[in-house]
């Protein structure tokens, strides 16, 4: 008797994995939504040499900032999809009505979002580093900072997305809310890429990014969960 009761009691780990898998599956069945922000990322970075001129030293100077700003904007583009379709078709309500802690379920969705939007960005970034004439050390630093920084973007972005999901014209508002909060990530990451190019240690910048990630990981899901409950009400 007891064992059957235990067998169908809701399990958090299972809900977490199922939700993560569901979001990945949905994304792979709508591949354009993964590809478009990436394409945007590449095109924006390509515009700079065309606008400024292909002088290698100039490109190298602006590259860390340009690539990172493009990464911020690309992540903004993909954010809107995090809760929007679920909100529109009612699936979000079902998630909110789960007996599990909402912040943990939210984390599953954020991780899925990062795997769809952040990870491909990281894989593409060395190529853009080459475009912008970055030295090898800087490209390594670029990948490392993206690895630590893009999850923070997804986490902070999830709060803004959750706050604006109920609004019809949420997109522009979302960038107004979220971009100022991205500034610390931009500062530390771009500086690491720049400093690595001239051969300095980037340990300080990476530890700041790590600290930001730890903080975002603990606080953002709670804020996002609260925001979602507000947005559906």
């Amino acid at each position: 008797m007891n064992s059957t009761v235990a067998a169908n009691e809701p399990r958090l780990a299972q809900a977490f994995v199922t939700l993560l898998r569901r979001d990945l599956l949905l994304a792979f069945r709508r591949p354009a939504e993964i590809a478009n922000p990436l394409l945007f990322f590449v095109i924006v970075v390509t515009l700079f040499p065309l606008g400024i001129g292909p002088e290698p030293n100039t490109l190298q100077t602006i590259a860390p900032g340009v690539i990172w700003v493009a990464a911020l904007l690309a992540s903004m583009l993909s954010l809107d999809g995090m809760f929007r379709t679920d909100f529109d078709d009612g699936a979000l309500e079902q998630i909110l009505l789960s007996p599990h802690p909402l912040s943990v379920l939210v984390l599953a969705k954020v991780i899925a979002h990062w795997m769809i939007s952040g990870l491909p960005l990281i894989l593409l970034s060395p190529l853009l580093g080459l475009f912008m004439n970055l030295p090898a050390e800087s490209i390594v630093a670029l990948v490392l900072t993206l690895l630590l920084g893009t999850p923070v973007l997804s986490l902070i972005g999830s709060i803004g997305t959750a706050l604006t999901v109920g609004l019809r014209k949420g997109g522009v508002l979302l960038s107004l809310l979220v971009l100022p909060l991205y500034i610390p990530v931009l500062i530390f990451a771009a500086s690491a890429v720049e400093v690595a190019g001239v051969g300095f240690s980037i340990a300080a910048q990476l530890s700041f990014l790590g600290a930001l990630l730890a903080l975002a990981l603990t606080l953002a899901p709670v804020a996002t969960a609260a925001s979602l409950r507000i947005s559906v009400s």
Binding site: L167, L177, P180, I183, P184, A226
Partner: protein, 250 residues
Amino acid sequence: MNRFVAWFHRWGSPKHFYDMSGRWAPWMAGLFFLTFIPGLYYSLIGSPPDYQQGESARIMYIHVPAAWMSMFIYAVMAIAGAVTLIWKMKLADIVAQVSAPIGASFTLLALVTGSLWGKPMWGTYWVWDARLTSELILLFLFLGYIALTTSIDDKRQAARAGAVLALVGVVNLPIIHYSVEWWSTLHQPSTVKVMGKSAIHMSMLIPLLLMSFAFKFYYAWVVLISARAEVLDRDKGTRWAEEAAGEKGR
């Protein structure tokens, strides 16, 4: 403790707030003029010019209190946000919402005065000084709050969403401030600071303090009268609100 709770609840009642704010607002206005007029006198005439910066240092008596107010008001909004979320107190959310435009104005004032001060000091109206940059980002946070709360139709929903945003912002503010400071020392190690770390002479401290008190009283005054109007507007249709509005009309 019980007396505190009772006091807290009374302030939560719209009618009580309407009556009390009506009584308090003139006092705040009085205190504002009482500090602002001598503050202006000491700022402009009664204090000596700075031996390095000359007369243009006087702009600090507006700039610094305005910058303090901008952060103070954001903190007030975050605290009000916490009260809104935890105790669902209507008044707290009204205070937060009427504070936002005032806070944005003070931030703008700090930015404009900072840039006016920058012209004689740096030779240009805008330098990416750490304080000015932080202040600019703070302005974005205020504008983001206003944009969010005004685009949500339902007032209670807007209040709760704004509360979450203000709390997220207040956690981020020190991080943003610190990272901007770090960034600025990295890129321009030797600029003249808007406010040096050196000890301030008494003759400059008096106008600074007077002005900062004046700004606080001004804020309190404006919050009271605009929250009063908002309380009345939200409770329109209830008997006390109709009576209160009727008294005014007569």
